[in-house]
């Protein structure tokens, strides 16, 4: 049990650090997926521990949302790349006047 949760924690931390420190939008995106899946792992582990299916159902929802997010997110990244010839997240700073 503890091993599952530790793995989940490590994966989440890697994802979080990746989101904060990497500039490449694709990598940031993958890190977000990593964090979601770390969460899924935690949910499934707790579900199994408690003997209740709620956690597993929640994990399915997360996967659906993640799939939708990938569709929208990749579309945005492709469109930004077309407009600016760059996928560095630091270059997309138009909100700062």
């Amino acid at each position: 049990m503890t091993e599952y949760l530790s793995l989940s924690l490590i994966l989440f931390t890697i994802g979080a650090v990746g989101v904060l420190v990497r500039r490449n939008a694709i990598v940031v995106f993958m890190c977000i997926e990593l964090m979601l899946n770390a969460t899924n792992l935690a949910l499934v582990s707790f579900s199994r521990q408690i003997g209740n299916l709620d956690g597993q159902v929640a994990a399915f929802f997360v996967m659906v949302v993640a799939a939708a997010e990938v569709v929208v997110g990749l579309a945005i990244i492709v469109s930004i790349y077309r407009a600016r010839r760059s996928i560095s997240v630091d270059d997309a700073n138009l909100l700062k006047s």
């Binding site: 989101v19 904060l20 420190v21 940031v28 997240v89 630091d90 700073n93 909100l95 700062k96």
Partner: protein
């Protein structure tokens, strides 16, 4: 007949406004229309006056109500005019002298391309002055009061291309506003106290003492009203402390100086005091204030008259001084009202005469006004010399002339009131004789001191005939008093106060006054018989008295120190307070808000990763808080 007395005002007003609107096409004959309008008022006024003399004494006040001017709640003002003994005399003086000056101006302004406009202004002045004297209500009087102020402003600044004339006009207007504040406050006070501003209702009638609203109001109201009206009178009549504008007003054309700033408008203050006799009878303090103002002004004016080399300014000082005499007489109460009016009328003749004479001199001397550059003009300009001389005899009080009768009566009445007031008036008479003699000596006698190639010549007939008429009146107007015509005539309006006790026989008093004047003349002849320096003498060479006189007794400096500079300081403080205090508060709030938003803007970097870090930080805080709550 008296129902039509509004025509007296309407005809010159219509002519004046018409000429202004008509424009250039009337340039050729505008002056004639204006003169005819003024003559009409004179003739019609004379007809009304003669009708009045034919009526019974108690039936000599005719009031006509034209229309209701203001009707708002308790406040009711009629546009009504009263033609009575006092206003009748004024109508004759204003239109009579006014018409003569219209005629004179035809010649004097002949070469001015804006002559039509000048005559239009003169007509407007006549209309406003008649409104002032005919008004039966203080508010209507105030309308005329402001009207003559406007005409005075327009005419002083008639040669507006001269900066000095424009400044003088502005000064006259501003100083008069100070007096008008007193006048306006007096009218408001009347309404607040009595609910009416009708002259008759406020003052009551002289024949029925105690009939006016003022008599039941108590002395303090009368004193306040008296002092406020006196302030108004001081402004209009150039009395100390509001005297400073009159000398500058000489920048206007000379006929204007003669009509407005000598014969008529500046005497409106005296008219106001006499017309408000009910108020002044009810307050000893207000009367004393009038006497003090009159006495101070008559001495200050004479002082200035002694020191000025500009003939018009010397005459203006003399005008102030003579109006001081009238004020003094008016302040004596019923004992002096009639004499104030009598001196006002005689002064209207001889001072208008002398101003027009000065205009004639300027006409012949290429607009030179400095008496040090005159001299020996009696041969070159005989008519001007003779008529000016008649005015001179009248003002110094030469026995038999108009001034002799009018001034002597005032000095006698002053002595009967108080020795010191009488002494001041007597000294004034001596000084008057001195400065007028000085003027005569410098102008008509002595060697020629002409500058350049001036060729003095007599003025045309159109200018000299009015001079002759006024010169004759200067001498003959004294006849009005011989049979006590004026005091008897005015008694129903201003009342009378029997024979005053002098302590010495009247003939002795007359002798003393005449001798005082004679010594003034002798001094003038003796001092100015010798050569007079043409160049301006340095200030340092003359005594304090001359220096002060040349500076108009430091009236302007006093105004500057007492009013102008403190006001400027106040203004500067207020501007500072507005910029730093009021604006500072508003802009300060805005600045602080700006600073705050600048500070709050810092975290908004626009970098996605910094926002993400904020999310994590926030989520971490929430988790820690939950843990803290759960574990605690």
């Amino acid at each position: 007949m008296f129902d039509l007395q509004w025509l007296l005002i309407a005809v010159p007003l219509a002519s004046g406004l018409g000429l202004l609107v008509w424009g250039k096409e009337s340039d050729a004959f505008g002056h004639l229309i204006a003169t005819v309008a003024s003559t009409f008022s004179f003739v019609f006024g004379l007809v009304l006056f003669l009708e009045l003399t034919g009526a019974a004494a108690e039936d000599r006040s005719r009031t006509t109500n034209l229309f209701t001017w203001i009707d708002a709640g308790r406040f009711h003002v009629d546009m009504s005019f009263t033609f009575d003994q006092l206003s009748g005399l004024f109508v004759l003086l204003v239109t009579g002298v006014g018409t003569l000056i219209h005629i004179y101006s035809i010649g004097y302004m002949a070469h001015d391309e804006r002559r039509r406009r000048f005559f239009a202004y003169l007509n407007i002045f006549i209309a406003a002055m008649l409104t002032l004297v005919l008004a039966a209500d203080y508010l209507v009087l105030f309308l005329g009061w402001e009207g003559v102020g406007l005409a005075s402003y327009l005419l002083i600044g008639f040669w507006q291309h001269k900066p000095t004339a424009a400044a003088a006009a502005k000064k006259a207007f501003v100083v008069n506003r100070v007096g008008d504040v007193g006048m306006a406050l007096a009218i408001m006070l009347m309404f607040a106290q009595f609910g009416t501003t009708s002259i008759a209702a406020v003052n009551g009638s002289a024949s029925d003492p105690g009939s006016g609203a003022i008599d039941s109001a108590g002395g303090s109201v009368a004193t306040a009203l008296g002092l406020l009206l006196l302030l108004g009178a001081c402004g209009k009549s150039a009395q100390v402390p509001l005297q400073s504008w009159l000398l500058d007003a000489m920048e206007g054309p000379t006929p204007v100086s003669a009509l407005i700033h000598a014969a008529t408008m500046v005497t409106a203050g005296v008219y106001l005091v006499v017309r408000s006799s009910g108020i002044y009878d009810a307050s000893e303090a207000a009367r004393t204030a009038v006497i003090v103002v009159g006495l101070v002004t008559l001495l200050v004016g004479a002082w200035i008259g002694c020191a000025k080399d500009d003939i018009k300014k010397a005459l203006a000082g003399s005008t102030m001084s003579q109006i001081g005499y009238m004020m003094l007489a008016a302040g004596l109460g019923p004992a002096g009202y009639a004499f104030a009016i009598f001196h006002l009328i005689t002064h209207g003749f001889f001072k208008a005469n002398m101003f027009l004479g000065a205009g004639s001199l300027m006409h012949g001397m290429d607009d030179e006004v400095d008496m040090r550059r005159y001299g020996a003009l009696r041969a070159a300009m005989p008519v001007t010399f003779v008529t000016f001389g008649l005015g001179y005899l009248a003002i110094i009080g030469f026995p038999g002339t108009a001034g002799f009768f009018s001034k002597d009566r005032i000095i006698e009445a002053a002595f009967a009131d108080s020795f010191w007031v009488g002494l001041g008036a007597l000294i004034g008479a001596g000084v008057t004789a001195f400065y007028m003699t000085r003027m005569m000596m410098m102008t008509f006698f002595g060697p020629k001191r002409w500058i350049g190639d001036v060729e003095p010549h007599e003025s045309p007939k159109v200018m000299t005939i009015p001079l002759m008429v006024l010169g004759a009146m200067s001498v003959l107007a004294g006849a009005l008093i011989i049979s006590d015509f004026i005091p008897t005539w005015l008694e129903p309006v201003v009342g009378s106060e029997g024979e005053h006790e002098l302590g010495i026989p009247v003939w002795l008093m007359t002798l003393i006054i005449t001798l005082t004047a004679a010594s003034g003349v002798a001094l003038g002849v003796w001092l100015y018989r010798r050569e007079i320096a043409v160049d301006a003498p340095a200030d340092a060479d003359v005594s304090f008295f001359s220096r002060a006189g040349r500076h108009e007794v430091y009236g302007n400096e006093l105004n500057d120190a007492v009013v102008v500079r403190p006001t400027q300081h106040l203004t500067r403080f207020l501007v500072w307070f507005d910029a730093k205090g009021v604006d500072g508060l508003v802009t300060g709030v805005a600045d602080r808000l700006g600073d705050t938003s600048q500070f709050l803007r810092k975290p908004q970097t626009g970098y996605v990763r910094s926002y993400a870090a904020t999310f994590f930080g926030g989520a971490l805080l929430v988790v820690l808080a939950l843990l803290a709550v759960t574990l605690a």
